[in-house]
C-alpha cells in the first residue's frame, strides 16, 4: 500500500513543500504589486489628480482592471498558503471571521465604485467615489494584515474563548501598525511609479510632468519606508529578526538583496527612469516576499515546519496546471498585444 493511503484525506500535500513556497512567494509578489497599484492609484486620484485631472482620468481608466487582476492574483497565494499553512491560516480566519468574511464584500464595493468613477473622473467633485473606494481598500488591507499576523501568532487565538463570534484581532501585536504602514507606503510608491509609467507613454504636453509627479511619489514613499521598515524590523520577535542578520542564510541574502534593489529603484527614479525603477521594484518585492516567507517560518518554528508535511506528488495534475497557465498566458499576451497594436494605430 502506498504510504499516502494510510493518511487521512487532506494530510498530504501534492508536491514538495519548496515548490509551493516558491510559487507562494512569486504569486504573492505579483499580487502585492498589482494591489499596490490599485490602492496607491486610488489614493493618488485624491492626492495628485493633476492640474486638469489628467492623472485621475488616466488612473480611473486603469484602476478597475487593476483591482480585477489584483483579486485574480490573490487566488494563487491564498491557495498555496492554504496548502502549506492552512491549519494556521484558517484558524486565524475563524477567530477573526467577521472582518475576514467581509473582505470580499469590502473589495467588491470598492471595485464597483471604481467602475462608477471611471467615466466621471474628469468631473470636479468626483473625488468622493475614489475616497470611498480607497477607504474600503484600506479596510481590506487592515483585514489582511490582521489575519496574516494572527496566522503566525497562535498565542493570540485564545481570544476566541472570550470572543467566539469571530472578532479577535492582532492589534496588540507590535508588528501590526508598522506592517500596515509598510504596505501603505509601498502602495503609494508603486502607485506613483505606475502613474509615471503610463504617463510616460502619453503624447500630450502634460505627460512629462505627470510622469515626474508619479516618480516623486515613488521616491517620497520609498524614503518613508526607511523609518517604517526599521520600525517593522525592530518590532519583530528577536529570533525572527535575527534570521535576517545571518541566522538564516537565504533570509539574510533576500533581505540584503531587497534593500539593494530598493536602493537601485530609488536611484533609477531619481534619474527619471521609471521603467528601470519598476524592474528593480518588482525584483525587490520578490525579495521582500521571500523575507516575509522566512519570517513566517521563523514565527512558526519549531512547532511547525512545512518540510515535515507528507507528500503525494502526481505529475499529471501538475502538468495540467503548468499547461493551463501557459495556454492562458499565451492567449492573454496575444489578446493584449492585439489590443495594444490597435492603440498604437488609433
Amino acid at each position: 500500500m502506498p504510504p499516502v493511503m494510510t493518511l487521512a484525506p487532506g494530510e498530504a500535500i501534492p508536491g514538495p513543500w519548496g515548490l509551493f513556497e516558491a510559487l507562494l512567494v512569486l504569486t504573492f509578489a505579483a499580487h502585492i504589486l498589482v494591489v499596490n497599484v490599485a490602492l496607491g492609484g486610488t489614493l493618488l486620484t485624491l492626492f495628485a489628480p493633476g492640474a486638469g485631472r489628467e492623472t485621475a482620468m488616466g488612473l480611473a481608466k486603469r484602476l478597475p482592471g487593476a483591482v480585477a487582476i489584483g483579486v485574480n492574483l490573490a487566488v494563487p497565494p491564498l491557495l498555496f498558503a492554504s496548502v502549506l499553512y492552512g491549519q494556521y491560516l484558517y484558524t486565524a480566519a475563524i477567530v477573526s471571521a467577521v472582518p475576514w468574511l467581509s473582505l470580499f464584500m469590502v473589495v467588491m464595493i470598492a471595485y464597483a465604485l471604481l467602475y462608477v468613477y471611471q467615466p466621471r473622473a474628469g468631473a470636479p467633485g468626483a473625488g468622493l467615489l475614489p475616497a470611498v473606494s480607497a477607504g474600503l481598500l484600506l479596510g481590506a488591507s487592515l483585514i489582511l494584515v490582521n489575519v496574516s499576523t494572527l496566522a503566525v501568532r497562535p498565542d493570540l487565538w485564545t481570544g476566541y474563548f472570550t470572543a467566539p463570534a469571530g472578532l479577535v484581532t492582532a492589534l496588540s501585536d507590535p508588528t501590526f501598525l508598522p506592517r500596515w504602514l509598510h504596505f501603505l507606503a509601498a502602495s503609494l510608491a508603486v502607485g506613483g511609479l505606475y502613474v509615471a509609467l503610463f504617463s510616460r507613454q502619453a503624447a500630450d504636453a502634460g505627460a512629462g510632468e505627470r510622469s515626474r509627479t508619479g516618480l516623486r511619489w515613488f521616491i517620497g514613499a520609498t524614503l518613508a519606508q526607511i523609518p517604517i521598515g526599521l520600525w517593522y524590523l525592530l518590532s519583530l520577535p528577536t529570533p525572527v529578526m535575527e534570521r535576517f542578520f545571518g541566522l538564516h542564510t537565504g533570509g539574510s541574502l533576500a533581505f540584503v538583496a531587497g534593500l539593494g534593489l530598493a536602493a537601485a529603484a530609488l536611484l533609477s527614479a531619481f534619474r527619471g527612469r521609471p521603467g528601470r525603477a519598476a524592474l528593480f521594484t518588482a525584483l525587490a518585492v520578490v525579495c521582500m516576499a521571500t523575507v516575509r516567507s522566512v519570517a513566517r517560518l521563523g514565527y512558526l518554528a519549531p512547532q511547525f515546519d512545512p518540510a515535515a508535511l507528507p507528500t503525494d506528488f502526481q505529475v499529471g495534475p501538475f502538468v495540467f496546471f503548468v499547461g493551463s497557465t501557459a495556454v492562458a498566458a499565451v492567449a492573454t499576451v496575444w489578446a493584449v498585444a492585439a489590443y495594444r497594436r490597435t492603440a498604437k494605430r488609433g
Partner: protein, 877 residues
C-alpha cells in the same frame, strides 16, 4: 475538532455559504453561457450588419463584465473565504487533494479576465475577426473554468475511486462529472437567455429589440429540456444509496424535486410570453420574474445537491460537522477531551449546560442555526424535553442517515440535550414527580372454607390492557379486556365445574360507561371497519355480561374497559365482580377481579405535547399528530391528513398484530408486525437504556399512574430485560422473525442495532410477537426457585399454547394464572394501589397475599389436607 467553530448563532447552519454560493453560482454560470451568447450574438449582428444590434451588444458586454467580474469574481473569492470559515477541514482536504486543479482553474480565470477586458475595451478597436476570436477565447476559458471546478465539486458528492486510489483524476472525473458538467452548462445557456431578455428590453430600435428577444427566447427555451434531461442523467449517475436517499427517503427534498421541472416549465412559458406582443412594461416585469425563477432554479439545484450529500460534506470522508469519522472514533468515547476548541473538557454536575453548549458548537451549529433562517434548531426541538432529545441524539444517524451520528459519551449526550432544552428552548428541567395515587379500596368478598361449596378464580387475560387513548388520531389497541374464570367445586378431590353453572361479570359503577371519555366508539367505523354502539366492544361485549363456557373455563374476550371513570378520575384498576350462579339462579360463588387498563404511554417524551388526562396519562392530540407526521414523513403515508379529516386509522389495520386488542384485523402481511415495527424503530433511539426504556411506552413505571409491573419479580428487583432482553435485544428478536419471513423493512431496522445480552444479532432467537414470549420454566426449572442471576432471555415459548397465560397445571383444569395471578401481576403483586386490589383471590381465599393455595393452603379447594405435587412438580416447596 481541530479548528475553532465560528459561533454565529442565528446565522449558523450554513447561512453564509448558502447565500454567497447560490448568488455566485447564478452569476458564474451566466458567465459561461453568457460568454457563448456574446460571440454568437456578435456573429449574428455582423452577419446581418445590424448596427443597433452591435451597439446593444457593446452595452450588454459592459453589463456582463460588471456583473461577472465585480460580483462573480469577488463572490468566488467570497466562497473560498466562507468555506474556510465554516468548514476548514473540508477546505483543507479539497485544497490539498486538488491543488493543481484549483491552480489550473485560477489560470483559466485569469484568461477569462484578460479576454473579457480586451473584448470590452477593444469592442470598437479590434477588427471583427480578432474581436470574435477574443470572444471565443473568453468563452473557452470560462468553460474550462467550469470544467475544472465541476470536477472538484462533484468529488464532494461522488468521490468515485478516489478514496481507494487517492488519484487526482479518479476524484476529478468522478461518477457525476459529465452529467454535472452538462447540467451546469445548460444552466449557463438558460441564464444567458434570461439575462439577454433583461438587457434586450432596453434596445430602442424595435426590430433589433424583437430580434434579440427572440434570440434570447431560443436560448432559454432550448436550455429547459436540456436541464431536465441532464438532471435525470445526474440523478441516474448517483450511487444507489445516495439516489435512494434523494428520491425516496429525503422527504425534505420532495418540494424541490417537484419545483425543479415546474420552474423549468415556467421559464419556457415565460420566455415564449416575452416574445409575444405584450406591452413593454409588462414584459420588463416578466423579465425580472424570469431572472428570479432562474435564481430559484440555481438555488433548488444547489440545495438538492447539498441535501443529497448529507450527512457528508465529502461523501464518506467528512461529515457536515467538518469532523472525519476516523478522527471521531470511537464514537461513544467522550469527545470533549478531544475537542481542542471546547471550553469544557469533561461534563460535571456543575457544568452540564456549558459543556452542552460546547457540544452544540462542535456538532450542531454547522447545520442548525439558533433562531435563525437556516434549519433553526428551535423549530425541530422546541416541543421536546431533554429526555426526548437524548433519544433523538441516540438514534441520530442510524435509521435516517441525513445526520451524522452523535459523537460522545452518554453523559455528553445528556449535557447536549439539557443545553438544547434548557438554554435554547427555555424549558425547565423535568422532574420525575411520582404520580399521586390513592390506594384502592376493595371490599374483598367473603369466603368461608368451612361452608363454601364452590369458589371461583377469575383473572385478567393480560396484566394490563395498554392503549394510547388517542383514537381520534390513531388506535394502537382497542379497548377490550379478556377475563377468564374457573369455578371449583370444593371437595376432597375438587373438580372444575361448568355444567349447570352460569358466570356473570359486572363492571364497577365508575366503569360502566367507558365510551364517556374514550373516543374509540366515535371512530370505530374508520378504525376497525364497523359501527359499534357506545360501550359495546369489538367482540360484542358490554361492561356487564355473561361469560362464555369453554370446556371447564369461562371466558369473556373483549370486555370494554377504560382507565377513565365517567367522572374523569383516572382509575387503571376497575374491579369487576364475577358471580357464579347455579341452574336455579342461586349464587354459589363470587369474587372480584381487577381488569387493569391503561393509556399511560409516554410518547410525549420524544414526540412532544403533554398527557391527555389529568396530567397523568393518555396520548394527547398534539402528540399523536406529531407521531403521525413522522410516520407520514418517513413512510410516505397520509395518516395525519386522514386523522384531521375525521378518518383516523388503527395501527393494527396495516401492521399485522395477533394480540387480543387488534380487533381481529389481518393487516397487510407484507408489513412488519406492529410489535416489530414499533420496537424495531424505537430501539435505535433507546439504545443503551435499561428498563426505563420499557417504562417510556409501557405503563410500567414505578412512579407512573398505572404501575402495571407489580408482580413479585419487580419486588425482587428483576426488571424487564431479565426476561425480554434490553430494548435492542427485544427488538432484534422480533425483527429476526420478520426478516426470516422475508420482510425487507426488518433488515433496515436491524442494521443499526447491536444486541447487549448476546454477541451478535444472529444469536438472538427470532420470535413472533404475542405468541412467543419468555418461558417461565427457563428460570423456574421444574417449577423450582431460580438462581439469583437467572435470565429467561432468548428462550421463547414455542407457540401461544406455551404462554403463561394460556397454560394450565398438570391436571389440565386450572390455568396457571388462576392461582399465580395474571402476567406482570403475579402474586404477591404490589404497587401504590395497595395489596387488596392486586391480590383479590389470595386475600379472599387465604386471607393473605400469595400464590393461591401456597403455604400448604390446599384447603382453599380441598376439604381435607393434601400432600404431593399433583398440580406441578415442586409445588409443595
Amino acid at each position: 475538532m481541530d479548528f475553532p467553530v465560528w459561533q454565529l448563532g442565528a446565522f449558523g447552519g450554513g447561512f453564509w455559504i448558502i447565500l454567497i454560493a447560490v448568488l455566485h453560482v447564478y452569476v458564474a454560470h451566466f458567465a459561461v453561457g453568457g460568454g457563448l451568447f456574446l460571440v454568437l450574438t456578435e456573429a449574428m449582428a455582423r452577419r446581418t450588419g445590424s448596427r443597433p444590434l452591435l451597439t446593444y451588444l457593446h452595452r450588454h458586454t459592459r453589463f456582463f463584465l460588471l456583473l461577472t467580474m465585480v460580483f462573480g469574481g469577488l463572490s468566488g473569492v467570497g466562497i473560498w473565504l466562507t468555506i474556510s470559515l465554516l468548514s476548514p477541514q473540508a477546505t483543507l482536504i479539497l485544497v490539498r487533494s486538488f491543488t493543481w486543479g484549483w491552480a489550473a482553474e485560477w489560470a483559466f480565470f485569469a484568461g477569462e479576465i484578460g479576454a473579457l477586458l480586451i473584448y470590452y475595451y477593444g469592442y470598437d478597436r479590434l477588427d471583427p475577426k480578432r474581436h470574435m476570436l477574443v470572444g471565443w477565447l473568453y468563452f473557452a476559458f470560462a468553460f474550462l473554468s467550469l470544467f475544472t471546478i465541476n470536477g472538484i465539486i462533484g468529488f464532494m458528492l461522488t468521490p468515485g475511486d478516489w478514496p481507494a486510489t487517492r488519484d487526482f483524476w479518479d476524484g476529478f472525473f468522478n461518477p457525476t462529472f459529465w452529467p454535472s458538467l452538462a447540467l451546469r452548462f445548460a444552466l449557463g445557456l438558460m441564464l444567458a437567455g434570461l439575462f439577454g431578455f433583461a438587457t434586450a428590453l432596453g434596445i430602442g430600435d424595435e426590430e433589433a429589440r424583437e430580434t434579440m428577444l427572440r434570440a434570447s427566447c431560443r436560448w432559454a427555451v432550448a436550455a429547459a429540456p436540456l436541464l431536465l434531461l441532464s438532471g435525470w442523467w445526474y440523478v441516474g449517475a448517483l450511487p444507489e444509496s445516495v439516489r435512494d436517499f434523494f428520491l425516496r427517503r429525503a422527504s425534505e427534498m420532495a418540494a424541490y424535486r417537484a419545483a425543479w421541472p415546474a420552474m423549468l416549465l415556467a421559464v419556457a412559458v415565460g420566455s415564449l410570453a416575452l416574445v409575444s406582443r405584450l406591452p413593454l412594461a409588462l414584459r420588463r416585469v416578466l423579465a425580472v420574474c424570469l431572472l428570479l425563477v432562474g435564481l430559484g432554479i440555481v438555488g433548488a439545484f444547489e440545495t438538492m445537491r447539498e441535501a443529497a450529500r448529507k450527512p457528508w460534506l465529502i461523501e464518506g470522508m467528512l461529515w457536515a460537522t467538518d469532523i472525519r469519522p476516523s478522527q471521531a472514533a470511537p464514537y461513544e468515547a467522550p469527545i470533549l477531551p478531544r475537542a481542542k476548541w471546547a471550553k469544557a473538557h469533561e461534563v460535571t454536575p456543575d457544568n452540564a449546560l456549558a459543556a452542552g453548549a460546547d457540544l452544540y458548537t462542535l456538532q450542531c451549529l454547522s447545520c442548525h442555526s439558533i433562531d435563525g433562517p437556516v434549519r433553526d434548531i428551535r423549530k425541530f426541538t422546541r416541543h421536546v424535553g431533554a429526555a426526548g432529545l437524548e433519544a433523538y441524539l441516540t438514534g441520530q444517524g442510524k435509521l435516517f442517515t441525513h445526520m451524522p451520528p452523535f459523537l460522545g459519551s452518554p453523559a455528553e449526550r445528556a449535557a447536549l440535550a439539557a443545553y438544547i432544552a434548557q438554554d435554547i428552548n427555555k424549558m425547565p428541567p423535568v422532574k420525575d414527580t411520582p404520580a399521586e395515587v390513592t390506594p384502592a379500596e376493595v371490599a374483598i368478598p367473603a369466603f368461608d372454607p368451612e361452608k363454601a361449596s364452590h369458589l371461583v378464580l377469575a383473572v385478567g387475560e393480560l396484566g394490563v390492557v395498554a392503549m394510547a387513548g388517542c383514537d381520534g388520531s390513531f388506535s394502537l389497541a382497542v379497548p377490550g379486556s379478556g377475563l377468564r374464570a374457573v369455578v371449583v367445586k370444593r371437595d376432597v378431590l375438587p373438580e372444575a365445574a361448568a355444567e349447570g353453572l352460569s358466570v356473570r361479570y359486572a363492571a364497577p359503577d365508575g366503569a360502566k360507561d367507558p365510551a364517556a371519555r374514550l373516543d374509540f366508539w366515535k371512530y370505530a367505523k374508520t378504525l376497525v371497519g364497523k359501527e359499534l354502539a357506545p360501550n359495546v366492544s369489538v367482540t360484542g361485549l358490554s361492561p356487564d355480561g355473561t361469560m362464555a363456557a369453554s370446556g371447564k373455563l369461562f371466558t369473556a374476550a373483549g370486555i370494554p374497559v377504560s382507565p377513565y371513570e365517567a367522572s374523569g378520575k383516572v382509575n387503571p384498576y376497575p374491579v369487576f365482580t364475577v358471580t357464579v350462579a347455579d341452574a336455579s339462579g342461586a349464587t354459589v360463588a363470587e369474587t372480584k377481579v381487577p381488569l387493569a387498563v391503561s393509556t399511560e404511554m409516554g410518547c410525549k417524551t420524544c414526540h412532544g405535547g403533554d398527557w391527555r388526562e389529568s396530567g397523568e396519562t393518555g396520548v394527547a392530540k398534539p402528540t399523536a399528530a406529531a407521531i403521525l407526521a413522522v410516520h407520514d414523513k418517513r413512510n410516505g403515508t397520509t395518516l395525519a391528513a386522514q386523522a384531521a379529516s375525521g378518518s383516523p386509522v388503527a395501527c393494527f389495520g396495516c401492521h399485522p398484530d395477533v394480540g387480543p386488542n387488534a380487533a381481529g384485523l389481518a393487516g397487510r402481511q407484507e408489513l412488519l408486525s406492529l410489535s416489530a415495527a414499533v420496537h424495531g424503530f424505537h430501539a435505535s433511539y433507546m439504545a443503551g437504556l435499561g428498563e426505563e426504556a420499557c417504562n417510556r411506552c409501557h405503563p410500567t413505571s414505578p412512579t407512573g399512574i398505572t404501575q402495571a409491573q407489580r408482580d413479585n419479580h419487580a419486588a425482587a428487583g428483576i426488571g424487564c430485560p431479565r426476561c425480554h432482553g434490553y430494548m435492542e435485544d427485544h427488538a432484534i428478536s422480533l425483527l429476526n422473525f420478520e426478516k426470516a419471513a422475508g420482510k425487507a423493512a426488518a433488515s433496515r431496522l436491524l442494521a443499526p442495532l447491536a444486541p447487549r445480552l448476546v454477541a451478535t444479532a444472529a444469536a438472538v432467537h427470532p420470535r413472533a410477537a404475542w405468541t412467543q414470549l419468555p418461558d417461565c420454566l427457563t428460570c423456574h426449572k421444574d417449577f423450582s426457585r431460580p438462581a439469583k442471576d437467572a435470565s429467561a432471555f432468548n428462550a421463547w415459548t414455542k407457540d401461544a399454547a406455551g404462554l403463561f397465560r394460556n397454560r394450565t397445571e398438570d391436571t389440565g383444569n386450572i390455568p396457571c394464572a388462576a392461582c399465580h395471578g395474571p402476567p406482570h401481576a403475579t402474586y404477591v403483586a404490589v404497587n401504590d394501589y395497595g395489596l387488596d386490589v392486586n391480590n383479590v383471590a389470595p386475600m379472599q381465599y387465604m386471607g393473605a397475599p400469595g400464590v393461591v393455595a401456597s403455604g400448604k393452603r390446599c384447603d382453599v379447594c380441598h376439604t381435607i389436607e393434601m400432600d404431593g405435587d399433583v398440580h406441578h412438580p415442586n409445588m409443595s416447596k
